[in-house]
Subunit: 211 residues, 2 copies
């Protein structure tokens, strides 16, 4: 019915595995395009410019804000993160479903601007499990993990404004569910107002001809 | 997350194939229970009481309305149609997803009472195709077909209040899509308010213990 792609927003608690879910989704299906964020923070070891992020200066970031070149942006500590608009618009136009893996603050900005966007929040089945996974990575101090848990508490306050919950117990299951839900969302009446109107008009015209 | 079944409402234009879709869905999956409607109209040849409908008298139907035993009901011409409440409640409680194949008037009543119900509207891709399918059945006069088309025009006015469109081009595809969408709907945040609250509480308790 609709040729334009869908905007798919994915957020989640630290350690929820949202990055892995996105990568696996992209690997399995070719209808998606992954939006790379811009950030002013320094690259971490192994991160590649243009793949993990566009690493840019604060000056350039502020310019992009002023020029309306960002779909959404947010500041964490002293760093900025944002979604360059051109890539997203272009891919949607091409009919690709664009994945934005972004934080809650940005996700809700996107939903306000694009009510037709589909928002997913990734989480383990329990709060304890969030802690266990962060602990299990063995890469962060207890202090950092507790900071992330406090951040999680703030994020939990806005989960209700997302469209779907993705309880990530099994990666394959979760990716399949995500893909199926995006396909379903395509046929929600709220995303097909024009088609619904065309059916109404179609009846008027048909009955004019036949009665 | 949620054990209670979902209420799945299916409506559609005459000739849209909604009956066949429901039968095929029931045949392929065992998570569904099909709600049999009660009606005061006479059985047509081949129709079985308790399978196609519960055929009851007008007096009994009016009694059921008064006693609140119907989930929804509607009157067409001089006949009543309605959904007995007990079966639906019982099956939902057992965790079954209950299919109501009902007309628009009843569907919207159900949505008002159960906002968590998922409403599907089945249609061919174009208005002309609705006519072609009715014509193709060869069982109804042109006059009856045009009456159905006028009824279709009225129904088209409320399609926008359904949750999803099911464009029935290919039966297997449509049934698969319907089943996947029901599964997706189960994880919509609006159907999981309690779970979302439990995550919020989980954080509060976790942080009370650990900080």
């Amino acid at each position: 019915m609709k040729k334009r792609g869908l905007l798919v927003v994915i957020s989640g608690f630290a350690g929820s595995g949202k990055g892995t879910i996105c990568k696996e989704l992209m690997r399995q299906h070719d209808n998606y395009a992954f939006s790379v964020s811009a950030t002013t923070r320094d690259p971490r070891p192994g991160e590649v410019d243009g793949v993990d992020y566009f690493f840019i200066t604060k000056e350039r970031f502020l310019e992009m804000i002023d020029a309306g070149e960002l779909l959404e942006y947010a500041q964490y500590v002293s760093n900025y993160y944002g979604t360059p608009r051109t890539y997203v618009e272009q891919k949607l136009q091409e009919g690709k479903d664009v994945i934005l893996e972004i934080e809650c603050q940005g996700a809700l900005q996107v939903k306000e601007m694009f009510p037709e966007a589909v928002l997913f929040f990734v989480m383990p089945p329990t709060v304890q499990e969030i802690y266990n996974r962060l602990k299990g990575r063995g890469t962060e101090s207890e202090e950092v993990i507790l900071k992330r848990m406090k951040r999680g508490q703030e994020e939990a306050e806005v989960i209700g404004r997302y469209d779907y919950l993705l309880v990530n117990d099994d990666l394959d299951e979760t990716v399949r569910f995500l893909h199926e839900t995006v396909n379903s969302a395509r046929y929600a009446t709220e995303r097909n107002r024009e088609f619904v109107e065309s059916i109404k008009t179609g009846f008027v015209e048909f009955l004019k001809e036949h009665v």
